[in-house]
Amino acid sequence: MTDTIFLVEDDPNILVLFRMMIERNNGYRILDTATDGQNAIEKYKKFTKKPDLVIMDHRMPLKNGIEATMEILELDENARILFASADVSVKEKALEIGAVGFLQKPAPMDVLFAGIEKALH
């Protein structure tokens, strides 16, 4: 079965790139994308079928990744969130509030896929 991914990322270049990389992999499908934390929460609420994984950027407008992660986990305690940031100093915080993994950016493709696989299972 194809795993669905909800991609949250404010940098349009990275969004396009990650989407392309993820869609090249037969195992995954992008369910939807959001470009800020607030929008991510609103979209998550409306999903009738929840994604198998959320890839969450940290530095974003309106609400950052930590805030969005906390709110999404409040809506759905089973949400699996893979935190992705260049700022390693938020790693501890992200895992503490319930992210299932942390991906340090910039991440090469193999590291990205390994991170997704590990976060899904």
Binding site: D11, N13, I14, L17, F18, M20, M21, R24, R59, A86, D87, V88, S89, K105, P106, A107, P108, M109, D110
Partner: protein, 362 residues
């Protein structure tokens, strides 16, 4: 720019003379006859300096200065009093006043205190501004440039996948490793900032575990080379007293050893032995490589990226500077020797000494 001064005193003659003296100096002076009148004026404008009498009906001088500093923390508050005492002086300084002076005053003293206060003010504002600029550049690198690195790295990965020719693959690999170096440089700057700004706590750590992890990640990040690292961990546990960033000491040294070995085959030896100096017990970790070596003239300079007057080797990033900063924070040391004494071109040995940690307090 004419600095603005507010004089607050219920004594008319004091206000008039002091105003005349300070206007003569080029300041723009306003006066208020008591604390409440001063507060009214402070609602409408801010002042660089407030000169306030300690004892006044309504609001006293310290209260006026406290109020003014709530609006502009850079305001210099000077309390003046005809009844100087240690208690009120301590109270004034404790509440954020810059200085305290008796009345009557010497004209030269007054001028000097105001000038000095304004100078302190200028420096503080300058430091604040410079910190903001530094923060801005740091943020720009850590976030914006890393986002660009992510995009570049990703497309190169995709290109590498679809590339057929070996020559193309080689060029793409080279470009990828350049992007990784850029990301590593940013990461090192961040770590350096972290060690410089905070004093990371020292804790007892397992040296064998740290070295094993560093060896694995060094090999993993240099897949383009055939890396052999010989390390025979001691049978008994070896504990060091170091901060949580300590693994960066060894990962940077290993990374350099691999990077600066010109051939595709890289051979590195790691040895650990006991070392004592001035009655203190250390472990000495020696990392020997067969790289291009370090000439005597730069054996110290390679660790001192930012020290004025010292040259650094081009392309070495700030890795070794980070190594030195980290090891100093742990109370240890780092130095480099020739693998073959007297012939640096045969390779180097990087020696690191780290204080031993006691396992029982782990």
């Amino acid at each position: 720019m004419r600095e603005k001064i507010l004089i607050v005193d219920d004594e008319h003659s004091f206000r008039v003379t002091t105003k005349a003296i300070l206007e003569e100096e080029g300041y723009k002076v306003t006066t208020a006859e008591d604390g409440l009148a001063a507060l009214d004026i402070l609602k409408k404008q801010i002042f660089d300096v407030i000169l306030a009498d300690l004892k006044m009906p309504g609001k006293d001088g310290i209260e006026v200065i406290e109020e003014a500093k709530k609006v502009d923390p850079y305001t210099i508050g000077i309390v003046i009093t005809g009844y100087p005492s240690l208690d009120t002086a301590i109270e004034a300084i404790g509440k954020g006043c810059y200085d305290y002076m008796p009345k009557p005053y010497q004209v030269e003293d007054l001028k000097r205190i105001i000038e000095r206060g304004l100078e302190k003010n200028r420096l503080e504002q300058e430091v604040f501004l410079l910190k903001q600029i530094a923060e801005f550049y740091n943020d720009l690198m850590a976030h914006d440039i890393n986002n660009i690195n992510q995009t570049t790295m990703g497309y190169l990965n995709l290109l590498l996948e679809s590339s057929r020719s070996d020559e193309q693959k080689e060029y793409i690999e080279k470009a990828l490793s350049a992007v990784k170096r850029s990301a590593k440089l940013i990461e090192d700057v961040r770590k350096l900032k972290q060690v410089q700004e905070t004093e990371p706590e020292l804790k007892v750590m397992d040296l064998t575990a740290i070295l094993t992890e560093c060896i694995d990640s060094a090999k993993a990040s240099h897949k383009d080379k055939e890396v052999t690292i010989i390390y025979n961990p001691s049978a008994e546990s070896q504990y060091i007293l170091a901060n949580s960033l300590a693994s960066n000491i060894f990962s940077n040294i290993l990374d350099n050893a691999i990077k600066f070995t010109p051939s595709k085959k890289v051979a590195i030896d790691i040895g650990v032995d006991d070392y004592s100096r001035n009655g203190k017990e250390f472990y000495r970790i020696s990392v020997g490589d067969r790289g291009r070596g370090v000439p005597d003239e730069v054996k110290e300079a390679i660790f001192g990226r930012f020290i004025r007057g010292q040259q650094s080797i081009k392309g070495s990033g700030i890795g070794l500077y980070l190594v030195k900063t980290l090891i100093n924070r742990c109370g240890g040391e780092v130095w480099v020797e020739d693998l073959i004494k007297g012939d640096y071109t045969q390779g180097s040995v990087f020696n690191v000494i780290v204080p031993k940690g006691r396992a029982e307090i782990r």
